[in-house]
Assembly symmetry: C2
Homo-oligomer: 169 residues x 2
């Protein structure tokens, strides 16, 4: 089994969480954290910061896939449009580097790491600490969510590879 590097992104205009994991015999967290554009900047400049930060992560870690959180329920149209703009930055950064994008609902990522789609964010953080052998639960929650997306995506790719071994994974 060759190494698979996956970049998870939990997009948001205020905070975009990211997490990079290398999957080989074990899981190795390469980086995680969040992108917080200064809130006093014009919106367009904030998306530029998000886009360029994701592009830099892709260039640094050369992931084989990008896993993005897809929300389906939102308070109002304005929150949904803002989320869409942040999400668009992740999709564009991946597309411009020719990297496959996978989308997962929050419940799918929780199911993949905690075993329950309704798990709390702090349960995800504790499970991330255990699975990735971190000294503390990953902070903030957005980074922990991004790491869980990367694991969820790895499970998906591995199960596809098991079903289609000719694809070489």
């Amino acid at each position: 089994m060759h190494q698979e590097i996956i970049l998870g992104i939990d997009p948001g205009t205020r905070i975009t969480g990211y997490g990079v994991i290398a999957f080989h015999a074990s899981m190795q967290p390469l980086d995680f954290g969040c992108i917080r554009p200064p809130p006093d900047l014009p919106l367009a400049m904030r998306y530029k910061i998000i886009f360029e930060a994701i592009e830099a992560l892709i260039d640094k870690f050369s992931p084989t896939a990008v896993a993005i959180e897809s929300q389906f329920v939102l308070k109002n149209a304005q929150s949904a449009i803002k989320l869409g703009m942040a999400k668009g930055m992740a999709l564009l950064a991946a597309a411009r580097r020719g990297i496959a994008v996978y989308e997962f609902a929050p419940t799918q990522a929780k199911l993949a790491v905690v075993g329950r789609g309704g798990a709390s964010k702090s349960q995800v953080q504790k499970m991330m600490q255990t699975l990735l052998q971190l000294p503390h639960p990953p902070e903030p929650e957005d980074a922990s969510d991004a790491l869980s997306l990367a694991i969820c995506c790895f499970h998906k790719l591995r199960s596809e590879a098991c079903l289609n071994p000719s694809k070489g994974r």
Copy 2:
């Protein structure tokens, strides 16, 4: 009065309308049309096409401002997220070239060109034909809407310049 070139964008995942107008003693339409990414492509690739097309328009016409339509009411979260992703492409393209972005609700653009915020799309098309001295009403509606956004933005910039003549417009 120096020449002002404004790029209007009516963003959408399926169809993104654009219109470029040069404002000097009169209004001169430089280009209009729409970006239609092939619907069978993965979403990320479709946004890449939208982003690169807007970037190419900015590089070709060097607009002084980009005017973007901002919807505030939408059917559901999924349409709003998709609209946000398309809109994000326009914001990012402008931010990466250091061009100011202005947002207008559809009613503002209609008010600016037809005189009524509740005007129909075909009324906007007819008014665009008249104002820009075009042989036919601009097609599709998305391109006509984008042209009306450019005019709406010009009115805003001109009235600001009248209030603040020191800014040099």
